[in-house]
Symmetry: C2
Subunit: 377 residues, 2 copies
């Protein structure tokens, strides 16, 4: 507890854009996020006042960090479960707990658990040898069970032999059927330690090359029944897995049914639209949930909200400052969020959001804005 | 220019809540506000990464600070004009310039200039001796020409003798007629160095004991003609005074006409509603204006937006953390902004904002929320 402000001290392990936007959000709650960043150049480290440097598996750095916080939460899934458990055993409050976070860290554990709950998902199996893939059948999707995010660790496998190199690397793998999709959806839900939940409207996520490029809130043309089905699944997963904080449930929409794709137990790219598009942003909501505060309204502030990710473009061309000015001049209603990162091709360096009522118009404007920041023209 | 982010470095002199909320806003522009704070405990100093310590009249501290910024702007009016001019002469970019800021620093200069422009305002005169007040007539309002804000430096004078103590203190004074008011209004306008302006809807400000307690956007029952009159005045003042950044024009509405009360050349309490209530907040807009970026849309995001200031209450009772939780539980749609200050009776420690379409309901909820944070019940 900060005696001067009479408010608890919230810490986040990881200093990326999620921590950056969480810091931005919690300033309104009278807070200043404590950040454990890997580098002083991390997106959150360059904007927050209270920054320690240390890696996510550095037991000493984590212990020192936790000692200065009332509640510790996470910007990513990279803190080993045993470290989280050790800190919890020492009396520190870490949310979500290791027992929940495990299902966002290990896709095999997640698939097993969802199977026990009878939740719909793609057919899958663990892959410990090429024979497992023969039995499973190709083409299929092979994923590393741990460490993957943003399309990394996901491989489209056409032939059994393709898995040899992955197996040789010694990483635990799983295979999933390649599901014929109509589109991808996502649900954001917050859950407090006491079990209060708050669900955001179901959104559509548009992917290109395994990377999310656009999010449309709410998902267009979603029947109320299908929206209810997605929401119920999110509540069930958050509750059964004892998630505290934000949970993102990524879904495949096959046209006939919804299948659970991935889980993330933190603010997630598919929820960035909430900053400008909902009464309570997912970042403020995550803080409220892990601090055991009452949750905020998840109501959208406009009929349609579209978010587009800004990727770094090829070197050369106008500087980011000039690109930004061009964009602001082109569309005075566009909300821009830059992450303070050095620009590298393909790297997520920010996002843009626009609100209104015409999906096609908003998508056109958001993708135009993102392209302008990426390409400079 | 920050070579890593390819973005300019923006600095703000003063570390109060305006700098705190500016920092929060410019994080989205890829920035981290450089702050020159008087104390490491200032509201902005506890949340920003790049903080120097120095007073607003400390020439050395200001010069060192300006040297690290592409553009310097201000959280308050306390930097002496001659220091600003000296830094500008040395090649630094300070916005607004001393020549404009002077009219927000010195109420005599402001009144004279508005008089030259033929703008409507209360009858006034300088007060250098008690005789001046005899001639002017009492009861009247006596103000210190410099250094007043938030109701400080404003005195209701019933008898000529009452001014003796003020004159003895040696501060320059002016007297203004006590205007019979229907209500007070305010206009926020942004202006860029090239003269682009962007005006927010005219708001009503509710004062108690000289302190703003509530802001209603847009001002209820304002005729389009009167709104146009207020807006035209704001554009004229911003343009004629060569303001760069945000300008707040506080107005008296006498029922028959509008009179200019005060000017502020920075984000202002009467514009806090824009954080949650407009496409572009006044803090983002101020940054865009002083960075010479294109200005953002000033469109409200809801039919009605009500902001209420949170004042510190009497000592005792529940801690701020508990008060905050009570409020969040009571009204999940309320947006809370706490300034990270130690609580002292009467001190502005935050504000709340709520959006919707029923003025009476929103005012009731906002004032209830502010009272709960103040009194704990």
């Amino acid at each position: 507890m900060d005696e001067r402000t009479q408010l608890p001290v919230l810490g986040m392990v990881g200093g990326g854009q999620l921590a950056r936007m969480t810091h931005q959000a919690v300033i309104a709650l009278g807070q200043s996020l404590r950040v454990l960043a890997e580098s002083p150049q991390d997106g959150a480290a360059v904007v927050a006042a209270d920054v320690s440097i240390g890696g996510p598996a550095d037991a000493e750095a984590l212990a020192a960090f936790a000692a200065g916080c009332d509640v510790v939460t996470f910007d990513h899934e990279h803190v080993p479960g045993e470290l989280i458990e050790k800190l919890a055993a020492a009396g520190h409050v870490l949310r979500p707990a290791a027992a929940a976070l495990r299902y966002a860290q290990d896709k095999r554990a997640m698939r097993r658990r969802l199977g026990e709950l009878g939740l719909p998902m793609p057919r899958w199996r663990t892959v410990d040898s090429a024979d497992d893939l023969v039995e499973f059948g190709v083409p299929c999707v092979v994923k590393t069970a741990t460490g993957g995010y943003d399309g990394r660790g996901v491989f489209m496998v056409e032939a059994v032999d393709d898995v040899a190199a992955l197996l040789a690397a010694g990483v635990p793998l799983l295979a999933e059927e390649r599901v014929p999709l109509v589109r991808e959806l996502a649900v954001q839900i917050a859950r407090s330690p006491a079990g209060e939940t708050a669900v955001y409207p179901v959104v559509e996520t548009v992917q290109q090359g395994g990377i999310c490029t656009e999010v449309i809130a709410p998902a267009p043309d979603l029947t109320p029944e299908r929206a209810r089905e997605a929401t119920d699944m999110a509540v069930r997963i958050a509750t059964e897995l004892d998630v505290v904080g934000m949970l993102a449930v990524e879904l495949f929409d096959t046209g006939d049914r919804l299948l659970v794709n991935e889980l993330a137990m933190r603010p997630h790219n598919s929820g960035h639209w909430t900053i400008d598009g909902a009464v309570t942003s997912q970042f403020a909501q995550h803080a409220r949930a892990v601090l055991d505060y009452p949750l905020g309204a998840t109501t959208p502030v406009a009929p349609v909200v579209v978010m587009a990710n800004v990727l770094g473009g090829e070197p050369g061309g106008p500087r980011l400052d000039e690109r930004l000015q061009r964009l602001l001049s082109l569309d005075p209603e566009m909300r821009v969020h830059l992450y303070g990162k050095a620009v590298r091709p393909g790297r997520k360096i920010g996002h843009v959001t626009v609100t209104g009522d015409d999906v096609a118009d908003l998508r056109r404007r958001a993708t135009r804005a993102a392209a302008l920041l990426r390409d400079g023209v």
